[in-house]
């Protein structure tokens, strides 16, 4: 069982690195979707066999929302905006990968020292969660495109989700559902806002640095 868990975690780490090193928006969205689906499988790696029915429900909802709903929403948006690549990021793609490696090191250190309630099933679980959160933050800070910002937000949430799995016993079902609903509404609103902004102000082209013109 632990083998499966760790394979999943490595998969999540790899999707993170993929996002850090890529310039194509399509790759971002697909990697985010795969990460979301991978996450939902984490629920089935518990030691006690088949999980409770409400956990199964949660996993299925996660899978559908993160694997199907978000990607289709985001793909629709980039199709309508006609933007396919991340242009002129603040931090280049090679440098981003190096930063990702450094973040992985920091995440390992944090994972080793962070005091947590209960038993953690794998030494990699907490570092992976941390690494995913850092990746999301990094994507928001280092990229210009608005779609990447939304993805960064999603990736952060994926990290929080992984963390939730790590301390499964301490997080009630209701909280997990609440977070999922939150993120769903968040992405929905963001996509709609992006679409509207792009339609009203043609020259922005999903480039958030242009929004600085709105400063006081």
């Amino acid at each position: 069982m632990n083998m499966v868990l760790e394979a999943l975690l490595v998969f999540i780490v790899l999707t993170n690195l993929l996002m850090l090193g890529s310039s194509r928006l399509g790759v971002y969205i697909r990697a985010g979707a795969m990460q979301g689906v991978g996450l939902s499988f984490l629920f089935f790696t518990g030691e006690a066999g088949w999980p409770h029915s409400h956990i199964v429900l949660l996993a299925l909802v996660t899978m559908v929302v993160k694997g199907l709903v978000f990607p289709s929403l985001l793909f629709r948006t980039i199709r309508q905006a006609g933007v396919r690549r991340e242009m002129e990021p603040y931090v280049g793609f090679t440098a981003s990968l190096l930063a990702g490696v450094a973040a992985w090191g920091f995440a390992l250190w944090v994972g080793g020292r962070l005091p947590l309630p209960g038993v953690i099933r794998s030494d990699l679980l907490v570092p992976t969660a941390m690494f995913t959160i850092f990746t999301g933050l990094f994507l928001i800070v280092a990229r210009r495109n608005a779609i990447t910002q939304v993805l960064g937000y999603l990736v952060i949430e994926n990290g929080v989700f992984t963390f939730g799995v790590a301390v499964e016993a301490a997080t009630p079902f209701l909280v997990e559902m609440g977070i999922l609903l939150d993120i769903f509404v968040g992405v929905f609103v963001m996509v709609i806002t992006l679409f509207q902004i792009n339609r009203e102000i043609e020259e922005i082209h999903m480039d958030t640095s242009k929004l600085a013109a709105l400063k006081d």
Binding site: Y90, F106, W109, V110, R113, L114, L137, I140, V141, A142, R143, R144, Q149, T208, S209, L211, A212, A213, L214, K215
Partner: protein, 678 residues
């Protein structure tokens, strides 16, 4: 009625009246009078409470467990709070009635007197003023009644913020917004020191009740620091120089009856707080007492010098408040000096003088601000030089204003001189006792007080003379009509109050003994004896003043008799044999004040624009001068400009990029995470 229900009425009535008045905001008359009458009723309840406590002695308390939070709201009246409750309740009641009528005119008239200014674009809703006036009144009462540090601080904030909202109500004008802002900053700088004061004491005692705080044994250093914090914190509210800067801006911005309340009552809570703080940390030593004398002298002299230079009537009155609070500080300083050097007479009389001056200033300044409100409403301007000749147009107002002016200038036979007389008495007694070290501070106090008195007389001779005597200088002043009955009644009440205070203080000075005892903790009998002796002296002075009044009346009668049956011609004032005199030829307020302004030019601030005249036939030239405030120009403006420059240099932090903001958050979180796990 029991004392507890009186306490409840004092606090709750103005609050409920204000809220109810706001709910009735759709009907102006109903809203104004609901708030006004409730405020008046609350004020009367406070008066009854204060009177009972002062004359019967004892202590009334009211306790309310605060919604199961473990905190008990304890309100109580002891002689000290009862004494301050007296002027504050009286002024609250009178201004509430005045305000109900005053605010109504803002709908009928062309200009907006609610703002104290004729330029208001849209008039302030009277229901809003009533609401915050209710909060202000209740807040002031709570400040006096609170019996623990926590309750005191909350009440202090309620009072301060209510005043802020009233100042900010007429926010269409930039100067009112600036005034509200300055007031907010000043009062919160003060509040920060009070927070330190009470939190430090509360931390040491483990409890916030005044009883627990007073029982603490403090080191000398802690006591000095706490006394300093109290003087700064409460001094900001009382308007001691250099913390007075909010007063001259805030008073013109507020409606006149609120200016009266703020100037006459709210500043006094600063004095109350200072005295209360002294009961908690103990009386200070000689250096602190001498410093307080110095503070009082600086506030008094600078206050009246700058008042004399003002042309805006309400600004002038605000600076006069600074002066009078300076006199109060001076009295406190003399009293504390007496206590520190073991001279009971000096201690008792100095403190009593300060207290009496608190009462008298509340009455007289309240009256003058109400009169200023009438003038603003009738003529649409606060500029002294645009008034004139109002004595003939509104004799009732002129009579009240004259009473207030004489009282505030500290001239016998009205009440204003009583407090100053007691302070003089204290200082002279200390001087003749030949206590070596007392010579310098007490001599300075006497000289300063005399200077302040003379300047104040000159200042108010100018105010009354320019506003009421002579010929009207503008068409608006010529067409001024007397105010509505409630406003005239409110002013007459305060004028009568000045006379009643004169007699009341002189004949029942020993009542103050209970108040003085709470602060000084000396033998009550000894204190009462000193007050009895001083009372005899006061009555002698009053008798002398009364004799002068009788003499003046006698001369008037003689004049009337001599002129009877003869033809008495009347001619315009300032006629002086000119062919076609105009009011523009008469003395203006600025020209009247010029000699004194020149004399104190170095300390009063402001500036002049003097034309250079050259040649035999110089071209048309223009001279202009503006009053200023030396503290603002030489201290606050440079300091705040530097602060602004410093923060401007950090503007790049706000780049306008989402990425940068997220980066700040991320770095902060990562730093905290790393720091915690290290």
């Amino acid at each position: 009625m029991t004392a507890a229900s009186l306490i409840l009425a004092t606090v709750a009535l103005p609050l409920l009246g204000g809220i109810l008045g706001r709910l009735l905001g759709f009907h102006s008359w109903l809203a104004r009078w609901t708030a006004g009458l409730a405020g008046a009723a609350g004020g009367l309840a406070g008066l009854a409470l204060a009177g009972e406590l002062l004359w019967q002695g004892g202590r009334a308390a009211f306790e309310w467990p605060w919604f199961d939070t473990g905190y008990t709201l304890a309100l109580a009246v002891d002689p000290l709070s009862a004494f301050f409750l007296l002027p504050i309740s009286l002024l609250s009641a009178v201004t509430a009635v005045y305000g109900a009528s005053y605010l109504g005119a803002s709908h009928g008239g062309g200009h907006s007197p609610a703002a104290g200014s004729p330029h208001g674009a849209d008039p302030v809703n009277p229901a809003n003023v009533g609401l915050f006036a209710g909060f202000l009144q209740a807040g002031m009462a709570l400040v006096l009644l609170a019996q623990d540090g926590l309750g005191f601080l909350v009440a202090w904030e309620v009072m301060s913020l209510a005043a802020f909202f009233i100042i900010a109500l007429d926010d269409a004008q930039a100067e009112n917004r600036a005034a509200a802002w300055i007031y907010l900053v000043a009062s919160h700088i003060g509040a920060a020191f009070l927070l330190f004061f009470f939190l430090y004491l509360g931390m040491r005692a483990g409890d916030f009740s005044f009883e627990a705080l007073a029982g603490l044994a403090l080191s000398d250093r802690a006591r000095r620091a706490l006394t300093l914090a109290a003087v700064i914190g409460f001094g900001a509210k009382a308007g001691f120089v250099p913390l007075h800067v909010w007063l001259p801006d805030a008073h013109p911005a507020a409606p006149s009856h609120i200016s009266a309340l703020m100037s006459g009552a709210m500043t006094k809570t600063g004095i109350y707080g200072l005295l209360r703080a002294l009961t908690l940390v103990g009386l200070p030593g000689r250096p602190a007492a001498a410093a307080l004398i110095g503070l009082g002298l600086v506030s008094g002299i600078l206050g009246i010098v700058m008042a004399n230079a003002q042309r805006d009537l309400k600004r002038l009155l605000a600076y006069s408040t600074v002066e009078n609070l300076g006199i109060v500080a001076l009295g406190l300083g003399v009293g504390l000096w007496g206590a520190a050097t073991g001279q009971t007479v000096v201690a008792v009389l100095g403190l009593a003088g300060a207290l009496v001056h608190v009462l008298n200033h509340a009455l007289a300044k309240g009256l003058l601000f109400l009169a200023a409100g009438v003038l603003v409403q009738a003529t649409g301007t606060r500029q002294l030089d645009r008034l004139g000749g109002l004595l003939k147009r509104m004799p009732g107002v002129a009579g009240s204003a004259l009473t207030g002016a004489v009282a505030i200038a500290g001239l016998p036979p009205l009440n204003g001189f009583l407090g100053e007389f007691l302070i003089f008495l204290a200082a002279f007694t200390g001087l003749v006792s030949r206590h070596g070290e007392s010579t310098v501070p007490l001599t300075l106090a006497i000289m300063g007080l005399a200077l302040i008195g003379g300047l104040a007389a000159a200042c108010f001779a100018r105010v009354f003379g320019i506003a009421f005597l002579g010929e009207p200088r503008t068409a608006e002043a010529a067409e001024a009509a007397p105010p509505e009955a409630p406003m005239a009644l409110a002013m007459a009440l305060l004028a009568v109050g000045c006379v009643v205070a004169l007699l009341g203080v002189a004949w029942s000075l020993p009542v103050l003994g209970r108040v003085v005892t709470t602060v000084l903790r000396l033998n009550p009998l000894e204190i009462e004896l000193e007050l009895l002796k001083a009372g005899v002296l006061l009555r002698a002075v009053i008798a002398g003043g009364g004799l002068l009044v009788v003499l003046a009346g006698f001369l008037a009668v003689v004049r009337h008799q001599l002129l009877a049956g003869r033809e008495v011609g009347e001619t315009p004032t300032w006629d002086c044999g000119y062919a076609a005199p105009t009011p523009r030829m008469s003395y203006t307020g600025s020209s009247f004040a010029q000699p004194l302004n020149d004399l104190f030019g170095a300390v009063r601030g402001g500036g002049e624009e003097r034309p250079r005249l050259a040649g035999l036939f110089p071209a048309t030239a223009r001279f202009a001068s503006r009053p200023g405030d030396a503290c603002v120009e030489r201290f606050y403006e440079p300091v705040f400009r530097r602060v602004e420059t410093f923060f401007q240099s950090w503007r790049w932090v706000q780049s306008g990029r989402v990425q940068a903001y997220v980066l700040y958050i991320a770095l902060t979180l990562l730093f905290l995470l790393g720091w915690n796990l290290w």
